[in-house]
């Protein structure tokens, strides 16, 4: 999906880096000193581009190809910025090396320098530590989020480094832009100024570890479609204290009056606590994001759902008659885990274009080779997948082996770290 704007992010990033470097491109300087200047400013431009992709605005996300694509590029550009900034002090040292190794070391040794270099080192070490933690998949989310702020601190320190070097104020536009983007993200997304207020109107428990909440808008309703997702922070309510963190949840239903339903599985501390949420709890919603299952081309479709991955498909089934033939394969572990099974079976009876397979496969990865249609039966199909990462990876591999082109395989990772 989003094939219409695949170059938007690379073009914006190249423009930001190009403008920054062109602005400061050195003339009549030695090679390594020039490399140092270019790498430092290229790092600033890359950081600004990376931070632009961190702000969570629904329109920007739709324009840039979705939050997943933005976060993927946020990581790529952030690491590229870090690598460019590592070159900066090394190139300065190399410039001194031709005169004397001691001079090269004097460029790096903080105790031989002053505040400008101390702040530069502090920024680089903050970036190094922050990235090491940000790229740690095993870290609990709350701690990961807190330590992610080290990266914002790195930008502030880098700005101090540049100011104390006495650089011209006009030169500082890219680090100032980076700082402005951090502030934007903090105020609009983290503090929730961009969020719309909702209240929990109803709570259902379709299976042991899943709760479905229906949220009534208190201001304007969201222009949401089934299959999209929102970032929701559950706050306090009668006898309930929410964790207040924004997490992504798929929309499982959209009512004409603007009420939306979210399916929430107990996957972490916050979502486990949400299993006890009650009507009346205040919720702030950002989004909607994503276009999974939207703008689907005409033709037969294969839907593969694993566990709570059934939610976007349920949203579409609830919204009205299917326009094309669909085969839905819904995999779940056991009887207790079969979220919405009865409702989906009922919907299948009134959806004449839907062929439904509901399969219990225990705790092991199912035999997808036997479950998925053979290559001739997949010809001309659009394949939509939603489920745990292991299932997605195995299904994509198998579909590719069965000659389904990548453009016809659609899925979202829901990994927003």
């Amino acid at each position: 999906m989003h094939a219409h704007r695949p170059l938007a992010i690379p073009l914006i990033s190249t423009t930001l880096v190009g403008l920054t470097v062109l602005w400061v491109f050195p003339e009549n300087l030695g090679f390594w000193r020039s490399v140092a200047i270019v790498s430092g400013w290229a790092g600033c431009g890359l950081l600004a581009a990376s931070l632009l992709l961190m702000i969570r605005e629904a329109r920007l996300a739709a324009w840039l190809g979705g939050l997943e694509s933005m976060y993927r590029w946020h990581h790529r550009l952030g690491v590229s910025a870090y690598l460019a900034l590592l070159v900066h002090p090394l190139a300065l040292a190399t410039a001194g090396w031709s005169e004397a190794p001691a001079l090269a070391w004097a460029m790096l040794a903080p105790w031989q320098q002053g505040w400008p270099v101390w702040l530069g080192w502090a920024a680089l070490l903050c970036l190094m530590t922050g990235l090491a933690l940000a790229l740690s998949p095993a870290m609990p989310y709350a701690r990961w989020r807190g330590l992610h702020n080290l990266l914002a601190l790195a930008i502030v320190l880098a700005l101090g480094h540049l100011l104390l070097l006495g650089l011209d104020y006009l030169l500082l536009w890219s680090p100032l832009l980076a700082l402005a983007l951090i502030l934007w993200r903090f105020l609009r997304a983290d503090l929730g100024l961009a969020a719309t207020p909702h209240v929990v109107a109803r709570v259902d428990h379709p299976s042991a570890e899943v709760v479905e909440v229906r949220l009534q808008p208190l201001a304007h309703p969201l222009a949401a479609r089934p299959g999209q997702f929102v970032l929701a922070a559950f706050l306090d309510g009668p006898g309930f204290r929410g964790c207040g963190e924004y997490h992504p949840y798929t929309i499982s239903a959209v009512a004409p009056d603007g009420e939306i339903a979210l399916g929430i599985k107990a996957l972490g501390d916050c979502t486990r606590h949400l299993q006890t949420v009650v009507p009346g709890v205040a919720v702030r919603i950002e989004g909607p994001f994503g276009d999974f299952l939207n703008e689907r081309p005409a033709g037969p479709e294969l839907w593969l759902a694993g566990g709570i991955g059934i939610t976007p498909f349920l949203g579409v089934l609830r919204s009205g008659p299917l326009p094309h033939p669909v085969r839905l394969i819904y995999l779940h572990r056991n009887e207790h885990d079969a979220t919405f099974r009865d409702e989906i079976a009922t919907l299948a009876k009134i959806q004449p274009r839907l062929a439904l397979d509901i399969i219990a496969c225990g705790d092991r990865l199912p035999d997808l080779a036997a479950l998925l249609p053979a290559a001739p039966d997949l010809a001309g199909h659009e394949c939509y997948l939603c489920g745990p990462p292991g299932l997605l990876a195995a299904a994509v591999r198998l579909l590719r082996q069965r000659s389904v082109s990548p453009a016809r395989i659609h899925f979202e990772h829901f990994d927003f770290r």
Partner: protein, 121 residues
């Protein structure tokens, strides 16, 4: 992929820093150029004739420097350094950034631009 790049980059960076440190510690330094025995001497009036960024001399700690070729490389904006062209700039040189002197690297760099000594008053 990003994690691998990060680890590779970080490892290479610290190895390079270690190499620079080892080079500074164990490789011989080029001996400082001996000063010419009959060094030219300039008065403050003579230095004052070189008071523009295109022809910028300064006296620092009784030594006279022609900093014209270095000015474009100086990291500070021109408004900070240019006003010292043609002047005795020892105090400015010593008090960079709220009383802090320039680094040993800057001291070393300065020697390249030496043109003579300041005439005794």
């Amino acid at each position: 992929m990003m994690r691998k790049l990060f680890l590779l980059g970080t490892g290479a960076f610290w190895i390079a820093v270690l190499l620079v440190w080892a080079g500074a510690r164990w490789l011989p330094s080029v001996p400082e150029q001996a000063l010419p025995p009959t060094e030219k001497r300039f008065t403050l009036e003579e230095i004052a004739r070189h008071a523009s960024p295109e022809d910028c001399w300064m006296a620092i700690e009784r030594t006279v420097y022609d900093l014209t070729p270095y000015l474009p490389e100086h990291p500070s904006r021109s408004g900070i350094v240019d006003p010292w062209c043609g002047k005795e700039a020892t105090e400015a040189y010593r008090s960079k950034m709220k009383g802090r002197p320039h680094s040993p690297e800057a001291d070393h760099l300065l020697t390249q631009y030496r043109v003579g000594a300041l005439e005794e008053p």
